[in-house]
Amino acid sequence: MKVTLNGEWTQIPDNIIFVSDVLKHYKIHDKVVVVEVNGGILSKLEHQSTRLADKDRIEIVHFVGGG
């Protein structure tokens, strides 16, 4: 499916169903992240249960410590 990911129109693989699959696909599943889908912010538990659909708007912010 195609989604808007951090403002970019992006093709993601068809085997992606849940938000947690996107995090795995981009190898950020072991990082601390905040995810918003279509303007609604998700709790960590909702990453596993929130299904994605074509044309969804996804914002993913991951925390880093450098400086």
């Binding site: 951090n6 970019e8 905040v34 709790s43 914002e59 450098g66 400086g67």
Partner: protein, 339 residues
């Protein structure tokens, strides 16, 4: 009377009144590496009244690519960053009162410094110190601005006690063992972008224009051309131990701080992480193999030698830093390579 602030005063959201306010304010910057150098220079040029800068490290050659206050002379002579920064900052604006502190920002000291300040700027390189800043900010009631970067990526969030969620609300768990600028690299535009977000928010706070604050968690990747800003108000937790009504400021308590101990007669310091963790030594070996030092690994521990120092990292997250008795130096090396 010169007109050094005239262009800032012409900017109407600041104006002459705002400039007057800025000149009466005191900002505390924790860390004077890449973020801290850029933040300090911006605030000093903007005419801040007083600036306190705190750093435990000294200038190295690998800093100069992005840490804008430092020169070759500083690296050659291993000048403490707080001192090198202060000298340059005074040359930029002699009317600013600049206090340079060479120290590891521990909970007790941080609370004393923050009490005196109107705003705390985060320019640290680790989450341990950030969690302490977060608790101190809530306890003392002073705002702080989180900022961090790795590679071409950066992130920032402004924390106002009593209003926004705090860092503890956003993180849920403290990310330990992430990539650092010393393991994954960093480009200077990522630093300056984070600082631009931080300083814009700082100026709004300093002139009292709280309605103009961004109120969003912002992140960007300058190489991948991505930008994201998320409204995170909903993540404020009623039962947050740092900012909730039943708060206990967990990161100010001794138990939750990284434990260090000088090992007698061994010229070594032991560092134990604040929370139990399992270190992936194989992954760490791959990261450290890109550094200039030598890496060795067995099933139980990993050893990394560079110049006069050797870091030995155990699976349980513990590290021994050989070649120093100085706890601050050992912690600086630990956070540099292990995050």
């Amino acid at each position: 009377m010169n007109n050094r602030y005239s262009r800032q005063e012409l900017f109407s959201p600041i104006g002459k009144d705002g400039q007057q306010q800025i000149s009466n304010k005191h900002v505390l910057i924790i860390g004077v590496g890449a973020l801290g150098s850029a933040s300090a220079e911006a605030l000093v040029r903007a005419g801040i009244g007083k600036l306190t800068i705190v750093d435990r490290d000294y200038v190295e050659w690998s800093n100069i690519q992005r840490q804008q206050l430092f020169t070759e002379e500083h690296a050659k002579n291993r000048i403490p960053k707080a001192i090198a920064a202060k000298n340059r900052l005074i040359a930029i604006n002699s009317s600013v009162n600049i206090e340079a502190i060479i120290a590891d920002a521990s909970a007790l000291e941080l609370e004393d410094w923050a009490k005196e300040a109107d705003l705390v700027m985060d320019a640290t390189d680790n989450f341990e110190t950030r969690m302490i800043i977060n608790d101190v900010s809530q306890k003392v009631g002073v705002p702080w601005i989180y900022g961090a970067c790795v590679g071409s990526y950066g992130i920032s969030y402004t924390i106002i006690p009593g209003k926004t969620p705090c860092l503890s609300c956003l993180l849920e768990t403290v990310p330990l063992g992430g990539l650092t600028c010393d393991t994954a690299g960093i480009i200077s535009p990522a630093v300056n972008m984070v600082v631009s977000f931080q300083i814009s928010e700082a100026l709004k706070i300093l002139v009292g224009d709280m309605d103009s604050l961004r109120n969003k968690l912002v992140s960007f990747d300058l190489w991948k051309n991505q930008y994201s800003a998320i409204q995170v108000d909903k993540l404020k937790k009623k039962d947050c131990p740092s900012c909730g009504p039943q708060r206990s400021y967990p990161y100010l308590s001794f138990e939750n701080q990284t434990k260090t101990a000088v090992l007698c007669g061994r010229d070594s310091v032991q560092i134990r992480p604040s929370v139990p963790m399992v270190r992936d030594l194989e992954a760490l070996e791959k990261i450290l193999a890109k550094q200039t030092g030598a890496v060795q690994r067995n099933p139980y521990l990993l050893s990394y030698s560079e110049n006069a120092h050797r870091l030995v990292i155990f699976k349980d997250g513990r590290a021994l830093v050989h070649g120093t008795k100085d706890i601050s130096e050992a912690k600086a090396l630990y956070h540099k390579y292990l995050g």
